[in-house]
Amino acid sequence: MIDPDWVERQLQRIVTRGWPVLVIAVIGLGVLGIVGYHFTARLEDIRIAQSDNTTWLIAQSEVEALKLAEKVIVARQGPMGAAQVADLRQAFDLFYSRINVINTHVNQSPILTPMAGDPAWRAVVQRTERLRALIDVPNRDLTADLPDIRAELVLLRGPLREFALEALSRLVDAATARRETLARLWLRSATLAVTLIVMLLVLSWGMLHLARRLRQRHHEVERAQSNLEQTLASSLDGVIVVRQDGTVLRVNPAAEAILGYTLEELQQSRDLLSLLLPEGTGDPATHALRSMILSGADSRKEGRIYLSAQRRDGSSIPVELALASDRDADGRLIYFAFLRDISDRVSYEATLREARDSALQAAEAKARFLAVMSHEMRTPLNGLIAALDLLRETTRLSARQARFLAVAEASAALALDQINDVLELTRLEGDAALEDLSDFNLCATVREMAEQVSPLAARQKNKISLDLPPEANCWLQGHRRSFLRVLLNLLGNAAKFTTGGTITLSVHVLDQPDGLSLVRVEISDTGIGIASEKLSTIFEPFETLDNGYDRVAEGTGLGLGIARRTVERMGGAIGVDSRLGEGSTFWFTAPMARVAPPGAKPDDAPDTEAAAAPTPQPPVQEILIVEDNPTNRIVLREMLRHLGQTVVEASNGSEAVELARHRRFDLIFMDVSMPEIDGVTASRQIRAGGQSAQAWIVALTAHGLPEDLERFRRGGLTEILQKPVTIAQLVPYLTAQTPEPAGDDRAMPADFDVVVVGELRALLPAAQMRQLLDGILAEGDGFIAALEAGESGPALADRAHRLRGAASIAGAAGLAALLEKVESELQEKGVVPSLVEWREIWGKAREVLPLRLLPEGENTTKA
C-alpha cells in the first residue's frame, strides 16, 4: 500500500532537483531551433538561385560578340543583301540584349555591384552604345559603318574579356564563400546537435537513475510498511490509528479482539468516541480523554491512562491507554491509541488488595488479642505474685523450697514485666497519643535519672560519668515521661551489660531552624558490646528475645523496641554504635521546645495524670520509697513528687535500711515482697534503730488480706496500701500523720486505677469498651438481684468473684477491693453482705463506671 501523496512528493522533489538540467535542455533546444532556422534560411538561399547562370551569361556575351564580329566580316566581304543585314542586326540585338542583362546584374547582384565602376565594364558599355549608334542606321548607311563596327568590336574584345575574367573570378569567390559559410553552419549545427544529444543522454541517465531510486524507495517503503503491518498485526497491544474527525485509519487484530469490533465496523461508525468511550461510564479518566480529543488538543501527554472502554457487546473493559499524536501528510491531526486489556491485572490487583486487607485485619485482630490477653493476664499474675508472697510470709520453708519459691517469684515478676512491656509496645504502636507535653529541666531530670540508676550500676561496679554542658541546663517542653522511659531503658541496659566499666551519659541541645531544640542523649558504655550483624535488628521488638543481649540479664527484649517507638513518637531518632567486647554507644534525639523556667515552681512540672484531677497540696515530708520494681518505683515517686514531697528511693531492703539509718524519713513506702531482705524484715530493722525508727511505714502489696495486715503490723509496718497505688490513695497518708486506719470502708466504688483505664481506652475501641461496661453492669445487676433473692454461700461468692474480675479488668479498683472482701468473707465465714449497703455501693458504681470507661460525649448515652 503506497501512499499516493508520498509518490507525488518524491516526484516533486525530483522535478525540483532536475530543474537545471531541464533549463539547459530548453536553452539547448532553443539554440538548436535558432540554428535550424538559420540553416533553413541558408538552405533557402542556396535553393533560390539569386542569379541565372551568370557565368554562362557572361561567357555567352563574348560568344555573341564574336558572332557579331563574324557577321560583320561576312557583310564586308560582299554586297550586303537584306538577309545579311537582318542577320547582322539580329546578331547585334542578341549581343545587346546580353550586355543589357549583364548590366542589370552588375547593378543588382551583390556580387557584381562592386564592378559597376570597373573601367573594363565601362569601356564595354561605352563601346556597345557606340556600336548601337553605328548599327541603328538605315540599311544604305550600314555598309559605310562596317569598318567602324569592325574596329569597335576589336576594341571591345579586350575589355569584355577582362570583365568576364574578373566577374567569373568574383562569382567563383562568392560561391566558395557561400560553400564555406554553409560548411561552418553545418559544423555548428552538428556540434550543437551532438551536444544536445549528449545532454539528452545525461538527462536520460539521470531520469533513469532517479527512476531506479524511486523504485528502490518504493520498495523500501513497501518493506517498512509491511514490517509495520506485521508488527501491528502481531502486537499484543491493540493499536488504533484514527484521525481527529473520528475516521479510523487502521486497527490491528489485537484491538479488534479487545474491543470486539472489526475494522469495517469501526470505520463505518459515525462517532468512534462515543462508541468506545461513551459519556455515561462515569470514569473521570474517560471523561478527561473525551474532552481532550474533542478540543483537538495536540496531545503530548506522556505515560499511560487507565480507563474503561466499551466493548461491542456493551460490556465495560478496563484498559491501559497510551496516546500519541502526529500529523498526516496533509497536516491533519491523527492519534495513535495503544490499548491494553488490563482486566486480568485489575482482578489480580483486587485479589491482592483483598488478601492484604484481610491479612492486615488478621494482624490487627492478633495484636488486639495479644493486648487484651496481656491485659487480662495481669490480674491473675498479680494474684500469683501475691500468693507467692503470702506463701513466703506465712510458711516456714526449707532452703530448697525457698529456692523454688524464689524461682517462682522471679518468673512471675518477669512475666508481669513482659506483659507490661507488651502492653506498652501495643499502646505505642496503636494510635494512642503520648502523654501531654510538660515543662521540665533537662539537666535536673537527667541527673536524677543517673542517680536512680547508680545503685544498679554500683552493683556491677560501674561508674556513671555525666557530661552535661551548660546549655543542657535549660527548661524544655516535651513528653517528659516518654523521655525518661527511654533514658532509663538505655541507662539500665548500659548498667546491666557493663561490669567494672564506665557509663558515660552526655546530653547536647542543638537549636534547629524550625525553632525547636533537638535534645541528643548519648549513653556510652565499656561493656560487652553487640555483634555488628545484630545491630540492625536490636531495636526490633521480639526479634531480640532469643538473642544474647537480653538473655544475659533478665528482661523482656521489648525494652529497646519500646524505646525506639517512643523516640519515634516523640519525633526523634534512635541509634547504636557498638563493637563486640569494646562497648556500645546508644543515642537518641528528641525535638523539644525551649520554655522559660517557671519562676516560683520549685519542682518539676506536674504529671498530666495528676493534673487531670486537682488535689490539695499536703505538707512537705521526707519520704523513702523502697521498691525493687523500677516502674512501680518511678510511678510512686512521680506521684509523690507531684504532691510536692521530697522523695528518696531504694531498690532493695538493705539499701533502705542503710538509708533510713542515716536519714530521718517521715514516711516510708515499703514494698513487702523484695529479693534478699523483704519488706517486713527491712521494716523490723528500721524500727530497730536509726534516724527513721519512728517513721510511718506503709506496706505496699498487691494483695491486702486482713491476716497480712496483722503480720505486717507485727513487723512494724503501720499501714497497708494495695497496689496499684493511686494518688487519691496516697493523699490521706500525707495529710495526716495518723490517718484513718486502713479499712474496707476506705475503698470507694468511685476509685479507679487511672493507668488501667488509660490503657483500656487506648487499647479497645469504643464499642468494646461499651461491651466491657455492659458486662460489668450485667454482672453487678445480677449480684444485687442475687442478694435481693437471698442467695448466699458459694454461689453468691462466685457472683462476687466474677463481678470483681470484671471490675478489676476495667480498672474499677475500689469496687474490686470491696468485692474481694465480700468474697473472702463469704468463703471463709459465710457472711452475707448487707443488701442496703451494696445497693448504695452499686448505685454509685453504676453512675461512675460509664463516665470513666466511655469516651467523652458517649458516656451519657447509657447511664
Binding site: 535553393r47 539580329q90 542578341l94 545587346y96 540584349s97 543589357n100 542589370t104
Partner: protein, 167 residues
C-alpha cells in the same frame, strides 16, 4: 560512343528537317511576321504569328525578375495553351532561343497560369534587345519554388521554336 554518334546523327537530321520545313512555309504566313514555330509530336510544323498568339487567352504575370529592374507586368498566352494548339498535352518539349539556347521542359510541370509566353511588357510588345519578342515567364515573386536555377534556366528569352520531344 555509339550514343554520342547517335545523338549527332539525330541533330543533323533535325537540322535538315528544319531546313525542309522553312522551305515549306506558305507565302501568306511569311508576310505576317512569324514569331514562333512549333512542331507537334506528329512532326507537323505550325507557326504562330503575333496575331495568332494575341488571339489566345491572355495571362498576366506581374513580377520582378533577376534580369530586369523593377516590377513588370508580363502578358501573353500560357505555354500550355500554345502547346495544346499543336496537340502537345504531355511528354517533354524542347524550347529553343534565337541564339540556339535549348532547354527541355516537362509538359506535366506546366499549368494554365504559368509559364506564359510573354509577348508584352507592361502592355507593350518588346524586341530582341529586351529579350523579346517572346519570353517564357514564371511568377518569380509568387514563391521560393519559382526562384530556382531550373526555373531560371526554363525562362527562355528570345524564344523562337518549340518542338515535342519524341518519347
Amino acid at each position: 560512343m555509339r550514343a554520342i554518334w547517335g545523338a549527332a546523327v539525330a541533330r543533323v537530321l533535325g537540322a535538315l528537317c528544319v531546313l525542309i520545313a522553312l522551305g515549306a512555309v506558305p507565302a501568306q504566313a511569311v508576310d505576317a511576321e512569324i514569331l514562333l514555330r512549333l512542331r507537334g509530336p506528329d512532326g507537323k510544323e505550325v507557326v504562330q504569328t503575333r496575331e495568332m498568339l494575341d488571339a489566345l487567352p491572355e495571362v498576366r504575370i506581374r513580377t520582378s525578375t533577376i534580369w530586369t529592374e523593377g516590377e513588370i507586368e508580363f502578358s501573353g498566352p500560357a505555354l500550355l495553351t500554345v502547346l495544346k494548339e499543336v496537340g502537345i498535352t504531355s511528354g517533354r518539349v524542347r524550347l529553343a532561343a534565337l541564339n540556339d539556347y535549348v532547354i527541355e521542359l516537362n509538359v506535366a510541370d506546366m499549368t494554365d497560369d504559368y509559364p506564359i509566353l510573354a509577348i508584352r511588357r507592361d502592355g507593350k510588345s518588346f524586341g530582341v534587345r529586351d529579350n523579346g519578342p517572346i519570353w517564357v515567364i514564371y511568377p518569380y515573386d509568387a514563391g521560393a519554388m519559382f526562384a530556382t536555377e531550373r526555373i531560371y534556366a526554363s525562362s527562355v528569352w528570345q524564344l523562337v521554336r518549340i518542338e515535342a520531344v519524341a518519347p
